[in-house]
Amino acid sequence: MDAERELDNELVRRAAHGDMEAFGQIVERHRLRVLRTAHGIVGSSDEAEDVAQEVFVKAWQSIDTFRPGGSLGAWLYRITVNAAIDATRRRRPQVALDDIAPPPSDQHIERSVMDAEEAARVRRAVQNLPPASRAALVLREYEQLSYAEIADVLNIPMGTVMSRLHYARQALKQTLSSQEDGHGL
């Protein structure tokens, strides 16, 4: 963990001096996390990619403001959450439709246990959560961040993280169970 952070800090130092190759390594190391988080908040692959591009452009432009010794991952998560929430606000109330039927992957067979229709229903339910609760839920369930890490990324107290997660889970539970009743499942 410390070695990872040291490597990140070294790459940041080089990137701050205009080394684009070092920045390319930063992008490669954090791209998937940024994309996954953005996808969780905006709900579509295309839009998530646009948000991720925006995140890395912002990171490149302000890399010299990154505090040495801090967590680059948390810093990028923070930019991602803000950029993704901004993106959802810009295009409301559109609902993402491109992930309704994602192709099954051989690498993640266990995920195909949940059928595409059900997955789409869950994603829609997540998308209907308020942005603040959605961001906390995505960081917890997709990224497996601890409460303290989520608090750091969202710049909120731990108690607020817990209440946002609680709200999100209760709302999801209610939405999904009412949909199941409606579908007769």
Binding site: Q107, V126, H166, K173
Partner: protein
């Protein structure tokens, strides 16, 4: 703990692995004994697992090279903003900037010299210049164009009383004018420093663009 039920916050902290070891042991003990809490925890766990299963698969973003290709083009175009940012990006092109810098530096020097004259560090320049101008205007060997230019200047200097100007006698007046000169000189020095910073940033940006 077995007598009362677990709070929702405790259940979620339990599922999220956020409980301290001693609390965890108590919660596990309670869950073994309480079917209602066990069921509530299982419900919560089902929601968490359902959401986690909808996380986008890594291969949804496998085109890393395309991502970088698109991104690097945007990074190159934002390079100028990295080196010349904020108000500095509004500065003029190099040639105009150089002319502006020279004029501002000259104006600053004039103010500094003026200030030093008024506080008495440098002797007044007016009488010396007047004597030189009178000599040149009266000298038949002086080029005609110079004499033609000096005559009205000498006349104007006599009318304004510059030739009689000696060391200032009113101390308050001296300080006021000296301070005004110094403040103007300082302001111009700040503008000159901004111009220099702008030129440094711009040239640094051009040099690094040349390297890439």
């Amino acid at each position: 703990m077995a007598s009362s039920h677990l709070s929702a916050a405790t259940m979620e902290a339990y599922l999220d692995g956020e409980l301290a070891p001693d609390t965890l042991a108590l919660v596990e003990e309670h869950l073994n004994a309480c079917a209602r809490c066990r069921e509530a925890v299982q419900d919560l766990q089902a929601v968490s697992q359902t959401v986690a299963q909808t996380a986008p698969e890594p291969c949804a973003f496998c085109e890393g090279s395309m991502f970088w290709q698109r991104l690097s083009a945007r990074l190159s175009s934002s390079r100028e903003h990295l080196t010349v940012y904020g108000a500095l990006s509004l500065m003029p092109p190099v040639l105009l900037g150089a002319i502006g810098l020279a004029l501002i530096t000259a104006a600053g020097l004039i103010h500094v010299v003026g200030g030093l004259v008024w506080v008495g560090v440098i002797p007044p320049l007016g009488p010396a210049l007047y004597r030189w101008a009178i000599q040149q205007a009266a000298n038949p060997e002086t080029p005609f164009a110079l004499r033609w230019a000096l005559n009205p200047i000498v006349t104007a200097a006599e009318e304004l009383g510059i030739m009689t100007m000696g060391w200032p006698s009113n101390l308050r007046n001296v300080l006021q004018i000296g301070i005004i000169h110094m403040v103007l000189g300082l302001g111009l020095a700040i503008v000159a420093a901004l111009f220099t910073a702008w030129a440094w940033c711009l040239l640094g940006g051009l040099a690094s663009e040349g390297e890439t």
